[in-house]
Symmetry: C2
Subunit: 339 residues, 2 copies
């Protein structure tokens, strides 16, 4: 059924070294030998086994991505950047999904121990300092996306600044009661975005009204889903003194919120966070995170680390940019105004 390099060598009347050279496109093989090897390989349907090659070569050309939720817009777009970059570099991609239970650290550690990858990109996983330190001891190249640790190269976005600028922009437009649709309250991006929102209000001399910070009941994906936004906006619109503008912790929530406004007939300007593809379609203004860039940049750092184990750890922090579309009554064409 399954033949090895020895079978082919014997059958072709050459050594296994020659067979190996043929499959590695080495130039130091006579046309005659090459032809013979190829013919018998073809006859038996033989091709070298990747696992054995990888062990002998001491590399797998495999990179693994570890992520909490796989079917999540943010991750999907980060993944696009990762994939493109990896394809350029002739690396394969492995995806691991961490379950949202309490032993996150152990899951990550076991994944890395079990894995065959040359390096790991860990996306949106938030661990404690001593846990990152423990991961460091594994001696495996790791790059972080959407998280920071002094032990690893990282690529992230300044959520506080993003929310600050988004809120500030609405204030500058003259809005008075700006609400925030938030996700799960112990989620890191949620915390940061609430912080930026509050800070902007305070810096403008406005009171923070906690009742203007709402979320829906559906907390799937940390509340970053359409239904949550729909529910949240419904609550806002039912308030005695409804807000006159709104910013959302994510684009999906904002899209849900837009539907709630449409159904109620009451429209207020809304700003999302992410800039997923759907947002362009629905005309949602948003604070853009350069997700694909973050993914490809993480791979770039990781591949560099694989070849330079002791390079200095480096961090990239992107600033979200405001893209205005119709949801804030702006230009229906996408237009960047802040950076």
């Amino acid at each position: 059924m399954s033949h090895t390099i020895y079978d082919i060598a014997r059958e072709a009347g050459v050594s296994i070294a020659t067979v190996s050279r043929v499959f590695n496109n080495s130039e130091h093989v006579s046309d005659k030998s090459r032809a013979k090897v190829l013919a018998t390989a073809n006859k038996f349907g033989y091709h070298p086994q990747a696992i054995a090659q990888n062990l002998a070569r001491k590399k797998s050309k495999l990179i693994s991505v570890i992520v909490p939720v796989i079917s999540n817009y943010f991750f999907m777009e980060v993944l696009e950047g990762i994939q493109d970059k990896l394809a350029d570099e002739d690396f394969d991609l492995n995806i691991y999904n961490i379950k949202p239970v309490d032993n996150i650290f152990e899951q990550v550690e076991n994944t890395i121990k079990r894995g065959m990858a040359e390096g790991y990109v860990i996306v949106s996983v938030h661990l404690k300092d001593h846990e990152w330190k423990a991961l460091k001891r594994l001696g495996v190249p790791i790059a972080l996306v959407d998280e920071y640790s002094s032990y690893f190269d990282s690529v992230s976005v300044d959520s506080v600044e993003g929310a600050y600028n988004a809120t500030k922009w609405l204030i500058d437009q003259g809005y008075e009661r700006i609400a925030m649709i938030r996700g799960l309250e112990n989620s890191k991006p949620v915390i940061d975005r609430i912080t930026g929102y509050k800070r902007a209000l305070e810096d403008s001399g406005k009171m923070v009204d906690e009742s203007n910070i709402v979320t829906g009941k559906n907390l799937d994906r940390d509340g970053f889903n359409e239904i949550n936004g729909y529910e949240a906006m419904s609550r806002l619109l039912e308030m005695e003194n409804p807000p006159d503008a709104c910013i959302s912790n994510s684009d999906v929530q904002a899209i849900g919120a837009m539907k709630a406004m449409q159904e109620s007939g009451c429209q207020i300007p809304i700003l999302g966070f992410d800039d997923i593809q759907l947002s362009r379609f629905f005309g949602l203004s948003t604070m853009r995170q350069p997700m694909a860039d973050m993914g490809s940049m993480a791979i770039e750092k990781l591949l560099h680390r694989i070849n330079h184990r002791d390079a200095k750890v480096s961090h990239i922090v992107y600033s979200p940019e405001l893209f205005l579309r119709s949801s804030t009554n702006g230009n229906p064409e996408a237009e960047k105004i802040l950076s």
Copy 2:
């Protein structure tokens, strides 16, 4: 930096066999040896290398999925089923993205040759019979999703039947001019769904009007995107004699179409195809494909094949089911009526 089993064995004063046994949770190790091994392993940050283990064990516990477009709703949901099943069976998942160029077959073949997986799930890739046959010669377990070949186990949906039943249902509701929003015309699901649509019209004694079968200009993902649906519906609404109902080749297109109707103020019933998560949110009636089930079923077949290389090839063909929501003026709650 990186230690091997020999280093640990020497340092712990045992043989490599004992070290191996400790890491494989073998019972035949004294507490004393185990403690010593664990201590020195911990001291050096050692853990066995997966690639070497895999070669020695002759298995990788890895399954690869090959798919044309990764950020595609259909695939995302199939993937969920695949992941869940794989997690249950303690297998890892690898994802390969085929580029939509002409050498699809070669890409698939090379991916399999290069891969370390024990088996492959190929999703929505359509090849010629002799190409499938060539893949068969690789001697690797393969299962197909959304495609049929006599050489491999497969899981698919009867698109012709689905489109037929969808169209039939609209006819039974009394609609006269039923349009179809289609995708790229040489795409297999598109061809099948157009076939079912036409057949239903003919069986009901209606003329097929080719001008009622439209698509948008944007053909990304074979036209299965929101913009395409938006453009297509815009065209339909501009016709002299617009349709009084519509079925779409995919849910995303239907969602785009719904937006076009909303903006134009002209609403006609619309039926999608897929039942992606967004559809539930937007109240889109649709012909449901059991995507997650298809994914998990494919894995089930594949794992069975890995352990029974010569089992008889088997095929599963699901029938799409109609789910009625508000887009067809039906019950706003999801309700299955046909099967």
